[in-house]
Symmetry: C2
Subunit: 111 residues, 2 copies
């Protein structure tokens, strides 16, 4: 037996969680929502809907669209979204560590 | 903003969680799976399927069928299931306490 769990942030519905985090992380790495969605096997239209829902619930923009220029545009993660990601990374590390510990405390000797 | 979460026990799939706990708790109180299911707005057939899946994944019986007698039969929670419920109650209290604390630590001052 083992523990199963999901954690997320709520604000009038699910505002942020592992899926949104992973999407933003890949946007940060690829500078492209298109590539980020593709890497996750997600339709581009779905990725945009996810970003839109996230921004509405968080109350700020998480992606900035760079238009034209030498590199031909692309997407950037906003500084406020990066800050949220920093908090979320530490929050997730703590939840994992602590939930594993609580599970072992109560179910470690379970037969 | 606030934290959202779900926790459960896994053993080749979801084996036990808040829904199964609540169902068994009501069986314990009403001595009847029929009444327990009804109180939760759940079809009796669905309650039986849930019990079956739970028993298969946990590897032991959680409900004992009392047949006939003065009270006309009914359902009882097995001692092993009650023991699991005891562990689960403490496990859930701890997860709630600790997850609320971790949320406040990382997102308490979030603007």
């Amino acid at each position: 037996m083992r523990i199963g769990y999901k954690v997320w942030l709520e604000n009038n519905g699910k505002a942020f969680g592992d899926g949104p985090y992973e999407l933003l992380k890949r946007v940060e790495e690829t500078h492209s929502l298109h590539r980020a969605a593709k890497e996750m096997g997600m339709a581009y239209s779905k990725a945009w809907r996810l970003i839109g829902a996230m921004e509405k619930r968080l109350g700020f923009l998480v992606i900035e669209r760079k238009v034209g220029g030498f590199s031909g545009g692309g997407s950037l993660v906003t500084p406020k979204a990066r800050l949220l990601m920093n908090h979320y990374e530490r929050f997730r590390r703590d939840t994992k560590k602590v939930l594993d510990k609580i599970y072992r405390k109560h179910f470690g000797p379970w037969k």
